[in-house]
């Protein structure tokens, strides 16, 4: 059990975050040609000119020799089952295309896993709608009579697909723990920003933490900080980018709350943004402007706004 000064068990559910990342991936010559040729229902492989070994789907580099001198070839859509497993997403199998020297992974369609056996003949099932992905092959089905195909020269291959959109949606659940837990509980319930005393007792650490970063000893008692502070660094954001929470322009600020010895990152508004650089500078005094919502996060503070230099609690 963590020894947290004056803290208590936190019943907060984890913080849920999502990273929604968009990509344009470049498959390169070999995989790019494979993806460009599925629309023609042609399987493209590659033969390494130094090892003589054949990859299907095509690869830029020989998995055995590391050779980069690869000849693109036409491969059959028939092969042999070399391994399989049943999953919630169906039967996943390793397949050796006729004439290839390496396996690749795909689905088996229309088969009962109990009826499968290694060495069975399989044939590709092409999709109705082509999306220039490996799923242009819907899967493979067992065809006992599938003829033994062979590798052949690839005539007039389509130009390689230069890029392919891709997306990752990554969902996380971050545990608050007793320190962040109490900090955000108190922000949500009583609009108090709580830090802990540094182990030397000189100043308050925010966000609160179990160990002092400098001495690596346990931190001290909890302290409520005022919602006023001083700007230690600021920039005026004009850049627009994916994932941005508010439209520019706004001020990115690192703020030292009165009594704290570490920084809080937030935005500053409530000023004439055309004069932002002159109105807000290191040393500018600011106060938190709270929202009406109580989510128990830093977003319960809408923003900070400048106050008169001699105003409020402070130094």
């Amino acid at each position: 059990m963590m020894q947290a000064p004056d803290s208590y068990l936190i019943e907060r559910p984890p913080l849920k975050t999502t990273l929604a990342m968009a990509y344009t991936l470049t498959p390169g010559r070999a995989a790019g040609t494979f993806l460009a040729e599925t629309i023609n229902r042609r399987m493209v492989g590659s033969r390494c000119r130094s090892s003589g070994l054949v990859c299907v789907p095509a690869q830029d580099f020989c998995p055995r020799s590391g050779g980069a001198d690869m000849e693109l070839v036409a491969a059959p859509d028939t092969g042999t089952l070399t391994g399989f497993t049943a999953t919630e997403a169906g039967i996943i199998a390793t397949i050796r295309i006729d004439g290839a020297d390496f396996d690749f992974v795909h689905r088996i369609l229309g088969a009962d896993v109990g009826a499968l056996s290694i060495g069975q003949r399989v044939q590709a099932v092409w999709a109705e709608t082509m999306t220039q992905s490996i799923l242009d092959i819907s899967g493979f089905q067992v065809v006992a009579t599938a003829p033994l195909g062979r590798i052949a020269p690839l005539n007039e291959p389509a130009p390689a697909l230069p890029s392919k959109p891709y997306a990752l949606d990554l969902h996380y659940e971050h545990a608050f723990g007793p320190f962040y837990g109490r900090l955000f509980d108190e922000i949500g319930s009583s609009r108090r920003i709580m830090g802990v005393r540094s182990s030397s007792g000189e100043g308050v650490l925010i966000p609160p933490r179990e160990f002092d970063d400098i001495s690596f000893t346990r931190t001290g008692t909890w302290v409520a900080l005022p919602d006023t502070g001083t700007v230690s660094a600021m920039s005026v954001i004009h850049l627009e980018f994916k994932g941005q929470k508010e439209p520019p322009p706004y001020i990115y600020a690192e703020i030292q709350l009165d009594g704290a010895v570490t920084r809080l990152i937030h935005s500053i508004k409530g000023i004439d943004m055309s004069r932002a650089a002159e109105l807000v500078r290191p040393g500018t005094r600011v106060r938190a402007v709270w929202t009406d919502s109580r989510t128990g996060s830093l977003s319960d503070i809408s923003h900070f706004e400048p106050i008169a230099a001699d105003d409020a609690a402070g130094r």
Binding site: G28, F61, S235, V236, H266
Partner: protein, 383 residues
């Protein structure tokens, strides 16, 4: 006692805003082939491989080292991946240096790359912020970097004009670098009038976003002669970190960089960096950082960086040229950038920097770093 280690081969891609003719693996192969050819070796001569790449979110492939093994000839060799944000290239070289200096291997290949055209850069970088504490306000590291530049203006006099001179110098130097993809001269006025992105950072204070790879071969002293009679000897290398949100962190002078420099200078016998170094390569993610590094690296005293750039001392023909290659302004494939700085410094002392060669360069300094200014390192190379 550690062994002497030399850089005996260097290679980099012709960097580009976007390469649609090669995958990430293809980029890696180009740099590896060039470094091996430069070292007069084949992959058979390499004992171990270090693969250095930026954050996984840049490229959507987890554990990319397994993917690029075929492309760098690492099959059945000892392989490890090193990643450390912008400092990835230097951290990768350091991992390889330890392996040779410690006597484990005779020759280690390091390849570093990023293909930044493929993902959302600022959004990816913003994930280095604590999800509870500040990530919702993050602007990559640009907002943060601009904020502390603004603070340094007041305390250290790092003006917008001084940073603009860095941009002018590095853009001009990149004109002579065949691997740079931004080759366009700019003026101080152009920089000052360029669009603010995170003021005081403006468009022309910012390097390009690049696809690129870089590779080096590190060799023991015993084996170096097979590759070249003019290697770049590693006289010292270090990479230091400071706490993320600690009370003592001022971020006005880069403390981890000053610490790394102090330690490495001591082991390399550097007592007067400005006089002793013939050339310096720094990784400037924004122009303001080059000013800050002048001070942290001891090229001038804190508060004198603006005067140093204005004096012309860091120009090609100055007494302490910084970034003859053009630095990040010519190309910035982040995961590779630290290794590119080492390659450019090595090329100088090997006498093969071509059109941007500093005559008779014998002692070179390379700098790189990652995180939001908390990880910083240097390498000292000599002829």
């Amino acid at each position: 006692m550690s062994r002497h280690v030399a850089i005996v081969g260097i290679g980099q891609t012709h960097h580009a805003r976007r390469r649609t003719d090669v995958s990430q693996a293809g980029l890696v192969r180009e740099a590896v082939d060039r470094a091996l050819a430069d070292a007069n070796l084949t992959i058979e001569d390499i004992d171990a491989v270090v693969i250095a790449t930026g954050p996984v979110l840049f490229a959507a492939v987890n554990m990319p080292e397994k993917w690029v093994v075929d492309a760098c000839g690492a099959r059945l060799k000892p392989v490890m991946r090193v990643t450390s944000g912008g400092g990835t290239g230097l951290a990768g070289a350091l991992a390889a240096y330890y392996q040779v200096a410690g006597g484990q291997y005779e020759r280690v290949l390091v390849v570093a790359y990023d293909k930044l055209s493929e993902g959302a850069l600022q959004y990816s970088i913003s994930t280095l912020y604590d999800p509870f504490w500040g990530r919702e306000f993050a602007v990559g590291i640009m907002g943060f970097s601009a904020a502390y530049w603004r603070a340094r203006m007041d305390v250290l006099g790092h003006t917008e004009e001084a940073a603009a001179m860095v941009s002018v110098k590095n853009h001009r130097n990149a004109m002579n670098n065949p691997y740079a993809h931004v080759r366009k001269e700019v003026t101080v006025d152009d920089v000052m009038k360029s669009r603010p992105l995170a003021w005081p950072i403006k468009l022309l204070d910012v390097p390009p976003i690049s696809d690129g790879a870089a590779a080096v071969v590190l060799s023991s002293e015993k084996m170096a002669a097979k590759s070249t009679d003019r290697p770049a000897w590693i006289r010292g290398m270090g990479y230091f970190c400071e706490a993320d949100n600690a009370p003592a962190r001022s971020m006005l002078v880069s403390e981890p960089l000053a610490l790394a420099a102090r330690r490495v200078y001591r082991s390399a016998g550097i007592t007067n960096p400005r006089r002793q170094f013939d050339v310096v390569e720094v990784q400037e993610p924004y122009t303001c950082f080059e000013l800050s590094y002048y001070e942290s690296l001891g090229l001038c005293a804190p508060g004198e960086a603006a005067a140093l750039i204005a004096s012309g001392a860091t120009e090609m023909d100055g007494d302490i040229p910084v970034n003859p290659s053009g630095g990040c302004m010519g190309a910035n494939p982040i995961g590779a950038t630290g290794l590119i700085r080492i390659i450019e410094a090595a090329a100088q002392v090997m006498g093969k920097a071509g059109a941007h060669q500093i005559p008779n360069a014998r002692l070179a300094l390379a700098q790189s770093g990652g995180g939001w200014a908390n990880l910083r390192g240097v390498a000292v190379l000599s002829a």
